[in-house]
C-alpha cells in the first residue's frame, strides 16, 4: 500500500515537471494564464469587498471573516484542481476509448486519468487562495490553539475532498452517460457561487439542501464557523462541525467506490 502511494506520488511529480516544462515554452502565455485565473477568482472577492464597503457586513460576517471563508474555499478548490482537474475531461477519455489503455496498465485507472496531463495554470487557485487566507489570518485576530490550527489544516484538505467527491461521482456517470459536461460545470458553478458565502444566508430550505443533499456547507463554511467562534448560528451540532474534515474523507471514499463500480460499465468505443 505504502509502495503504491509512493509510486503514485512519483508518477504525479514527474508529470508535474513535464507539464511545467511544456507551459514554460510559452512563458508569456503561462504568466497570463495564471493572472487570468487570479482575475477569475478575484472577481468574486471584488464583489464581496465592494458590497462590504457600503454595508460593513453580510449576515453578520465582517470583511476579514468573509475573507477567511473565501480564502479557505479557494485554497481547497486549488488543492483538488491542481492534482485532479483532469477528472473533468473523463467524457473525452471514455468516448475516445482512452480507458482501454488505463485498464491494461498496472496503475489504478483513477490515477492514470487524473495524471493524463497536468494543467499547471490551475496553481493560480492555490496561490490566490493562500494569499487571501494569509490576509484574513493576519486581520481576524483569532485565538489560535493547537486543535484549531489542526482543524484549519485538515479543513482545507477536507474541503478539497468534498468538492472532489462530487466531481468523482459525476465522473462515474460518464461511463454510461458519455456526456456529463453540464453536470460538472453546474456543480463547479454551485461551489464557486455559494461556497464563498456563509451558507446560513440562503434561507432554511437551501441551507438544509447544502448540508444534506449537496454537502457544500461542510467544505469551508462549517469549519470556518468553528474557527471564528460562530457555531451559534449553525443548525447542526458543534461536534459535527469539528468533524467537517472527516465528512470530506467519508464522502470521497463513497464517491471513489461509486466511480470504481461504474468502471465495470465501461464499454470501449468501436475502433
Amino acid at each position: 500500500m505504502v509502495e503504491r502511494i509512493r509510486r503514485t506520488v512519483r508518477v504525479w511529480a514527474a508529470l508535474a515537471r513535464a507539464g511545467l516544462r511544456t507551459e514554460l515554452q510559452y512563458r508569456a502565455n503561462f504568466a497570463f494564464g495564471i493572472l487570468g485565473g487570479l482575475a477569475l477568482q478575484g472577481a468574486g472577492l471584488a464583489v464581496i469587498g465592494t458590497i462590504l464597503a457600503r454595508f460593513q457586513q453580510i449576515g453578520g460576517w465582517s470583511l476579514p471573516e468573509l475573507m477567511l471563508l473565501y480564502g479557505m474555499r479557494l485554497t481547497s478548490h486549488g488543492l483538488w484542481t491542481l492534482p485532479c482537474s483532469n477528472l473533468m475531461v473523463i467524457d473525452t477519455a471514455v468516448r475516445e476509448a482512452e480507458f482501454d489503455r488505463y485498464l491494461t496498465r498496472p496503475v489504478a485507472p483513477f490515477v492514470q486519468l487524473v495524471t493524463r496531463r497536468l494543467p499547471v495554470t490551475t496553481i493560480s487557485d492555490l496561490l490566490g487562495g493562500l494569499a487571501i487566507l494569509g490576509v484574513a489570518l493576519a486581520t481576524t485576530h483569532l485565538h489560535w490553539t493547537l486543535p484549531r490550527v489542526l482543524l484549519l489544516g485538515l479543513a482545507l484538505v477536507g474541503g478539497a475532498l468534498v468538492e472532489l467527491s462530487g466531481q468523482t461521482a459525476i465522473a462515474g456517470l460518464a461511463f454510461r452517460m458519455l456526456s456529463t459536461g453540464s453536470l460538472k460545470f453546474t456543480l463547479d458553478d454551485v461551489f464557486n457561487t455559494f461556497g464563498n458565502y456563509p451558507t446560513k444566508i440562503f434561507g432554511p430550505a437551501a441551507r438544509w439542501a447544502l448540508t444534506v443533499v449537496l454537502p457544500l456547507a461542510f467544505a469551508s463554511y462549517v469549519p470556518a464557523t468553528v474557527l471564528l467562534g460562530r457555531t451559534g448560528e449553525l443548525w447542526i451540532p458543534v461536534w459535527l462541525a469539528w468533524a467537517a474534515p472527516a465528512v470530506g474523507v467519508a464522502l470521497f471514499v463513497a464517491a471513489y467506490r461509486f466511480w470504481r463500480s461504474q468502471l465495470n460499465r465501461y464499454a470501449s468505443s468501436g475502433h
Binding site: 510559452y26 508569456a28 502565455n29 504568466a31 497570463f32 494564464g33 495564471i34 493572472l35 487570468g36 485565473g37 482575475a39 477569475l40 478575484g42 472577481a43 471584488a46 464583489v47 465592494t50 458590497i51 464597503a53 457600503r54 454595508f55 457586513q57 453580510i58 449576515g59 495554470t121 459536461g181 453540464s182 460545470f185 453546474t186 458553478d189 454551485v190 457561487t193 455559494f194 458565502y197 444566508i201 440562503f202 434561507g203
Partner: protein
C-alpha cells in the same frame, strides 16, 4: 446587406448547434441571480431602502442587469482569436466583405440566436429576484434606445480587443482578465450607485458602464430625464470613439497578419 445577413445567419446556426452549452450557461446565470438576490436581501435586512434605493428596485436591477450582462458579455466575447489562431483569417480576408464588418455581422447573428435563451431565463430570474415595471413610459422608450446603444458599445469594444490577437496570437489569460474587468465595471454585478467613490469614478470614465448600467438605470428611473439624455449621449460618444479606434487598430493589424499552416 444580403452578405451580412448570410454571415449573421451562419453564426446563429453555430449557436443553435451547441444549444446545450447555452442551456448550461443559463443555469450559471440563474445561480448568480439567486446569489445576488440573497446577498442584497441579507444586507438590506429590515430596511426597505438604502441611500434612497428601495429593495424592490435593487432586486429588479439584479434581474435586468444579470440577464443583459449574460447576453452582452458572453464567455466567448469575440470571434477574432479563433479565426487568427487557426489561420482561417486568410479566408476571411479574401471574402468580398471587410473583415471587421464580417466579425460584427457574425457577432449580431450570435446575439440574435442567444437572445431567446436570455428571454427564456427572464421569468425564472424574476421569480428568484424580482422585477419592476419601467419607471415611466418615457423611461421605457429611453431604455430601448439605451439598450441598443449599449449593445453597440459592447460589440465595438470586443472588436477592438479581439484585434489585439493579431499581435498576441494566443494569450487566453488576457481575455479572461478583460472579461472579468468588463463584467464588473459594466455594473452587471453591482450597480454604480453602491460602488465606493473612487471605484465609481473609475467606472464612470470607462466605456463598460455604458453597456449594462446605463440602460438598466434608465429603465428603473434612477437617472431622471436630463441625466438619461446625457447618459445616452455618452453612449453615442463611446460608440463613435471606439469605432474610430477599431478602424485605426485594424489598419495596423492588417500588416501583422500571419496565416498559419496556409
Amino acid at each position: 446587406m444580403r452578405r451580412y445577413l448570410a454571415l449573421a445567419r451562419m453564426q446563429a446556426r453555430v449557436v443553435l448547434a451547441y444549444r446545450i452549452d447555452y442551456l448550461n450557461g443559463l443555469i450559471g446565470l440563474l445561480l448568480q441571480v439567486f446569489l445576488l438576490a440573497v446577498v442584497w436581501r441579507t444586507v438590506y435586512g429590515e430596511r426597505d431602502s438604502v441611500d434612497g434605493v428601495p429593495l424592490a428596485t435593487m432586486l429588479a436591477y439584479v434581474t435586468l442587469a444579470s440577464v443583459q450582462g449574460w447576453l452582452f458579455n458572453p464567455w466567448v466575447f469575440t470571434l477574432i482569436p479563433d479565426r487568427v489562431r487557426e489561420g482561417r483569417v486568410g479566408i476571411d480576408l479574401v471574402r468580398p466583405v471587410g473583415f471587421v464588418s464580417q466579425v460584427v455581422a457574425a457577432q449580431v447573428g450570435r446575439t440574435a440566436a442567444t437572445a431567446p435563451f436570455a428571454l427564456a431565463a427572464l421569468p425564472f430570474a424574476v421569480l428568484l429576484s424580482g422585477m419592476a415595471p419601467p419607471a415611466s413610459p418615457l423611461a421605457a422608450v429611453g431604455y430601448l434606445v439605451s439598450l441598443a446603444l449599449g449593445y453597440a458599445v459592447t460589440t465595438v469594444l470586443s472588436v477592438v480587443f479581439g484585434l489585439m490577437t493579431f499581435w498576441t496570437m494566443e494569450i487566453g489569460g488576457i481575455f479572461i482578465i478583460y472579461r472579468m474587468v468588463a463584467q464588473f465595471l459594466s455594473g452587471a454585478l453591482i450597480p454604480l450607485w453602491f460602488m465606493p467613490g473612487a471605484l465609481r469614478t473609475v467606472a464612470q470614465v470607462l466605456p463598460f458602464q455604458a453597456v449594462t448600467y446605463t440602460p438598466t438605470a434608465i429603465y428603473l428611473g434612477r437617472l431622471d430625464a436630463g441625466a438619461a439624455v446625457l447618459a445616452t449621449g455618452v453612449q453615442c460618444g463611446w460608440v463613435l470613439v471606439l469605432a474610430l479606434l477599431a478602424r485605426l487598430v485594424w489598419s495596423r493589424a492588417l500588416h501583422r497578419v500571419v496565416v498559419q499552416g496556409g
